[in-house]
């Protein structure tokens, strides 16, 4: 396979493997009709619910974490300590919320007569696509980035590969590198399968039911809307879909908080750094680049646009996530996968800031098992030269150490500067637009990052009728 050859045919292959005509939504160099594209999914929220129900997806329990709430209240000011709820998404067929994303794609692929589905993912999404495809009698290929040049793979990804295989998929496992995308294109080209990308409107619409169920569950439990919903953030779909679902149910005052694991300093395409990360997703290595430029995905226009919806973005350390995973198991009797507990780790800190009569919802959990488990992942980290110890998580250096908190008081979140992400987005936008923005692009960019036109203009200079001005130095 020639890399350049397949990449040159990118547009054509993506068009054939999709049901969306993306070009119809374009309005400028960058601008596109986002809401129009989402509406073109063609299913209402209730229709999506019905499709998912038929596929055994969704309707997961909302659990109040009484002991973790009590733990927080032992450590915060009197009158603080919001009630913590967990949407137990591990109860979905393949063990994570990703079934919601896969269900609509597979439904659509079946309806339109595709012989199978393919997806590039090293995460839980692979198992979701494989499982949904199995139930729909469709063939499935999952392309995964699994091992480094020594042939060594993180136990978490190896387990995800096993699960895809168990659910009947071909699992094409690759060594480290961004060519994963080119390999997906080659598979799509050869098979004529549907591209079940994480970033299609169908995938994001599938998550809206999660936001809706959170709203309904909290209303049923406490008689009012959730005050905050905290969402593990990587590619942006989880934040986007959940927030859209909350809004569809009228939760306009619910704070949407994104949380990622801090792996600053580790290069995503590095063969050497690959096995120095101890969580394979939910981290800033995806969260930051996808927030500051969503259109780096395996679709022409990305439906997952997290800056549109985030009210706040925080990061936590790997050590804190393992701590939270342990706390969930030993205090609530819920053994769940570590990566899905990223938002839980952050929620414990945020709950302490909030009044006791408020609620905070951790909107997902994921299954756990061999490989996808704190003991497996920490043992692997140690074997790869990472120092694992108890102490102050502030001392953790991604790729060098994992510091598991000794005391509750050591838990903290790092605020991610949303304006900095917005400025980075603007810079990317100008670059992708060829050095300047037209008036319609300016309007789109402002909407896409939830900023004013003035904010965008401050970065790039005014965009007037006489023509756009390029990037400010």
């Amino acid at each position: 396979m020639r890399y350049a050859e397949i990449m040159a045919r990118r547009e054509e292959i993506l068009r054939k493997s999709s049901t969306v005509d993306y070009s119809g939504f374009r309005r400028g160099k960058l601008a596109f009709d986002y809401e129009g594209m989402m509406a073109a999914v063609g299913y209402s929220l209730d229709q999506v619910r019905a499709i998912q129900k038929a596929a055994h997806v969704g309707g997961t329990p909302l659990l109040e974490l009484n002991n973790l709430t009590a733990l927080v209240r032992k450590h915060c000011a009197k009158g603080k300590g919001a009630r913590i709820f967990l949407k137990d998404e591990a109860a979905n067929p393949s063990g994570s919320f990703k079934d919601r994303r896969a269900s609509l794609s597979v439904h659509e692929a079946k309806k339109r007569g595709f012989p199978g589905v393919a997806a590039a993912t090293s995460g839980n999404y692979g198992a979701a696509v494989a499982g949904q495809a199995a139930a729909a009698n469709l063939r499935c290929v999952v392309v995964q980035e699994v091992f480094d040049s020594r042939g060594v793979g993180q136990p978490e990804i190896v387990e995800k590969g096993r699960k895809c295989e168990a659910l009947g998929a071909e699992v094409l496992q690759l060594s480290v590198g961004p060519e994963l995308f080119a390999m997906l294109l080659a598979v799509l080209d050869e098979t004529g399968f549907f591209n079940a990308s994480l970033y299609t409107p169908l995938s994001v619409a599938g998550i809206e039911t999660l936001g809706a169920e959170v709203a309904e569950g909290v209303r049923a439990a406490v008689g009012r809307d959730p005050d905050a919903v905290i969402i593990t953030h990587a590619g942006g779909g989880n934040v986007t879909g959940t927030a859209r679902g909350l809004r569809k149910l009228g939760c306009d005052r619910t704070k949407v908080v994104a949380a990622s694991i801090d792996i600053e300093g580790l290069h995503m395409a590095s063969d050497a750094a690959f096995n120095k990360k101890s969580c394979t997703t939910g981290h800033t290595g995806f969260g930051v680049p996808f927030a500051s430029w969503p259109d780096r995905a395996d679709v022409p226009l990305n439906a997952a646009r997290s800056l549109r919806y985030m009210d706040r973005y925080v990061s936590v350390t790997q050590g804190q996530v393992f701590w939270a995973t342990e706390a969930l198991a030993c205090l609530e009797g819920l053994e769940r996968g570590p990566a899905g507990n990223t938002s839980l780790a952050a929620a414990l800190v945020l709950a302490a800031e909030m009044p006791a009569d408020q609620t905070i919802v951790v909107q997902e959990s994921e299954y756990t098992g061999a490989g996808k488990h704190p003991t497996a992942q920490l043992s692997f980290a140690r074997a790869n030269g990472i120092e694992v110890r108890l102490g102050d998580p502030a001392e953790e250096v991604p790729g060098q150490s994992i510091v598991i908190p000794e005391q509750f008081e050591q838990l903290r979140v790092r605020e991610m500067d949303l304006d900095k992400l917005r400025r980075s987005y603007i810079k990317n936008a100008v670059k992708h637009a060829g050095g300047s923005l037209a008036a319609e692009d300016l309007k789109f960019v402002a909407e896409d990052i939830r900023a004013t036109k003035e904010f965008v203009e401050q970065e790039i200079g005014p965009v007037g009728p006489l023509g756009p001005i390029g990037m400010k130095e």
Binding site: Y3, A70, M183, I404
Partner: protein, 108 residues
């Protein structure tokens, strides 16, 4: 329990794992960190052997998706070696502290 002996060759229809180089170092994406650019992009895939061969021999497999792929035979009846890992004393310590903390003054 005795581990079964590792098979040294595959017959047609065996479930096997193969490996192949997809892109040699010079053929890879132009934007790679040097340590990644220096090594090939390699694939591994499992399927049913389409012809007999010894470990290391070039064979083809039919995958669960029905594709036929070619590569070097890595293993017959390949194992999953991932597990729950070793004991992590730090986590046991966290558990003990949490339990003690909750016991103190009783849970509200």
């Amino acid at each position: 329990m005795k581990k079964p002996l590792k098979r040294k060759s595959a017959t047609v229809g065996d479930w096997v794992e193969i490996s192949a180089v997809l892109l040699a170092p010079g053929e890879r994406s132009p934007n790679l960190p040097p340590e990644t650019a220096a090594v090939p992009l390699v694939m591994r895939v499992r399927g049913w052997a389409q012809k007999a061969g010894r470990i290391g021999a070039k064979i083809s497999v039919k995958t669960q998706a029905g594709r036929v792929l070619h590569g070097k035979l890595l293993a017959v009846n390949p194992r999953f070696d991932h597990d729950f890992g070793g004991c992590v004393p730090e986590l046991i310590d966290v558990r003990r502290r949490l339990k003690e903390l909750m016991a103190k003054g009783g849970a509200p």
